[in-house]
């Protein structure tokens, strides 16, 4: 079985036509994981009983001749920040090393209800904090294209699993670029929807106003199909929007001729690698050849995005991560004499260096005397960044940028310089602050054969538009 050529529709129709069983698709993926994942490190836990149970259910439906649901038998992996009932969920952290959730994340439940077969849980930076997956408490993930390089982060396992044919599609989370940047580093497609498009219920919170769940796939259509099954109001997340979900695949079929595509000089300036710039410019030219009108737009506050982001995100994280105290679940330090010592020691021993750094930064920004200067200031800058996009989208339908300023870097290259690591998120954090959707699609390779990704940003709740542009670009590539 050529796992690399599998698509969602291909898997479903092979099962529907009874050419291949869902069980054998799952088995083939488990065999691939057993042989290749020791080198890559994408999976943290396998949920084989659950997967084979679901596959048997799908095969029984196919045997009866029933119309199969849209993701029937599709082998998927789930980033380990989404809770799965009875399947160990660690968020890449020692503090949740033995955590067995009593419920399922809505996004995962909706995928399974649509027929998907959950193979297991995917490695990530601890609590999704990182841009290289090197902050996983368990093991790093290696880029399938070049094992000496990082897969990106924080959804490094989710991107690598798709790139290495160890899942047809995966779910990741994106708080500052954690879907789009690893998608670009691994040469796959990754979509961050609008804030509120997909329920966050069951997503272990990092920064609640910036966290998003989204899909990875080997092509644009597969991400559209996965988004379709997850999107829509969920009573369990009061920030999930009660806004109708369009038929994304149908929308993708519409022509792109005449669409206005924005390019912003703020995303093509200092710090951008020459090869990435050339690939992005070539991609824009290709869109022009497809009949799109290329329009220059200005997003003047872009350079303030990383500093504003790292205040808002860490402030929210310091609050969200207060719940990890060794009382109700997770790790508790041994040999403590008092309750306060138990809290401190459990957190000290349970959290890794980057998580502690962000808790400290966020706590500092929220502490008396600094709240106005840092937190409130950052929230105001967030308004300015959002206005930039709203202004730009008055004159364009989508905006094209590089996803990341460079292709995948080497393991260890930025590990000692947190600020350099944060600056790698420069083109992606803006969409989280504004809550607009973004997709990363492959748009070429460097001389070293490393993938390059292009980011397409759209208006709030206009995933249909960015999927349409991405789909047309992919088809023409």
């Amino acid at each position: 079985m050529d796992l690399g050529s599998l698509t969602i529709d291909g898997v479903r129709s092979a099962i529907q036509e009874r050419k291949v069983t869902a069980a054998s698709f799952a088995e083939a993926h488990y065999a691939k994981i057993a042989s290749d994942d020791p080198q890559i490190g994408a999976y943290l836990a396998l949920s084989k009983d659950r997967a084979m149970g679901k596959a048997a259910e799908i095969d029984a439906l196919a045997a009866k001749g029933d119309q199969l649901p849209p993701l029937a038998g599709v082998p998927v992996g789930i980033k380990d920040v989404m809770v799965t009932r009875g399947v160990t969920t660690t968020a890449g952290s020692k503090i949740l090393g033995n955590y067995l959730p009593p419920y399922d994340c809505t996004a995962v439940a909706r995928l399974e209800a649509a027929g998907a077969v959950v193979l297991g849980k995917l490695n990530c930076d601890e609590f999704a904090m990182g841009s290289s997956n090197e902050n996983s408490a368990w093991k790093p993930v290696r880029n399938p294209r070049d094992l000496s390089r990082v897969p990106g982060g924080s959804s490094g396992g989710a991107a690598a699993a798709v790139a290495a044919n160890m899942a047809v599609a995966t779910l990741g989370s994106d708080t500052g670029g954690s879907i789009r940047q690893p998608a670009s580093f691994c040469g796959v497609v990754g979509l961050k929807p609008t804030y509120g498009r997909v329920s966050r219920y069951g997503l272990i919170a990092f920064a609640s106003s910036l966290d998003h769940i989204g899909p990875f796939g080997r092509n644009v259509k597969d991400t559209a199909l996965v988004l379709q099954t997850m999107a829509g109001r969920d009573a369990m997340d009061s920030t999930s929007a009660d806004i109708p979900v369009p038929d994304y695949v149908a929308e993708m079929g519409k022509p792109v001729k005449g669409l206005k595509i924005g390019i912003a000089k703020e995303y093509l300036g200092e710090g951008l690698d020459g090869e990435v710039r050339a690939a992005t410019e070539a991609a824009v030219q290709k869109l022009a050849r497809l009949g799109c009108e290329i329009v220059e737009v200005s997003l003047p506050h872009t350079k303030y995005a990383v500093p504003a982001y790292y205040i808002v995100a860490t402030a929210e994280a310091s609050s969200n991560l207060a719940r990890f105290d060794g009382v109700r679940y997770g790790f508790r330090a041994a040999g403590v004499r008092s309750l306060s010592e138990m809290y401190r020691r459990s957190r000290d021993q349970g959290f890794g260096a980057e998580v502690k750094r962000r808790i400290m930064l966020g706590t500092y920004a929220l502490s008396a005397g600094y709240y106005d200067a840092y937190y409130l200031k950052a929230q105001k800058v967030r308004t300015l960044l959002t206005r930039d996009f709203e202004e730009a989208f008055k004159s364009v339908d989508a905006i094209v940028t590089p996803t990341s300023p460079t292709a995948a870097f080497k393991l260890g290259e930025k590990v000692d310089d947190p600020l350099a690591m944060y600056l790698a998120d420069i083109y992606t954090v803006t969409a989280n602050l504004a809550g607009i959707p973004g997709i990363s699609v492959p748009c070429g390779e460097t001389r070293d054969k490393l993938p390059i990704g292009m980011q397409i940003l759209g208006r709030h709740f206009d995933e249909a538009m960015i999927l349409r542009v991405a789909g047309a670009f992919e088809k023409a590539a």
Partner: protein, 112 residues
């Protein structure tokens, strides 16, 4: 240096972290480096800009209403177990590091 050793100790206490001596040295260096970059925000005049805490307040909210009435889209009927049943006692305690079967157990809080 914006952040001092004393600040690191104070913030660690607020955050319920202890941090080893080595970690404190590193934290001091990293926080100063990151906050030094963040200081560029001061170049922006935001005197007349409203703070934005949430994206979702821009959607679905009924701007003509005040207070919680604005967010009616996110409300539900106030009934017991309106969304789902509460976790059963044993399920809620299943992940506890220490429990007597009825309560979570922690080190003694009050000495007498």
């Amino acid at each position: 240096m914006k952040v001092t050793e004393k600040d690191v100790a104070y913030v660690a206490e607020l955050a319920n972290l202890e941090l080893t001596e080595e970690e404190r040295v590193r934290m001091l260096r990293d926080l100063n480096s990151i906050l030094g970059h963040i200081d560029m925000l001061n170049a922006l005049d935001t005197a007349n800009v409203l703070a934005m805490a949430q994206v979702s307040e821009r959607f679905g909210a009924d701007e003509s209403k005040a207070g919680s009435e604005r967010f009616m889209y996110a409300s539900r009927e106030d009934v017991r177990e309106g969304l789902r049943k509460s976790l059963a006692h044993d399920v809620a305690l299943a992940n506890a590091p220490d429990s007597d079967g009825t309560f979570f157990e922690v080190p003694k809080v009050i000495e007498r």
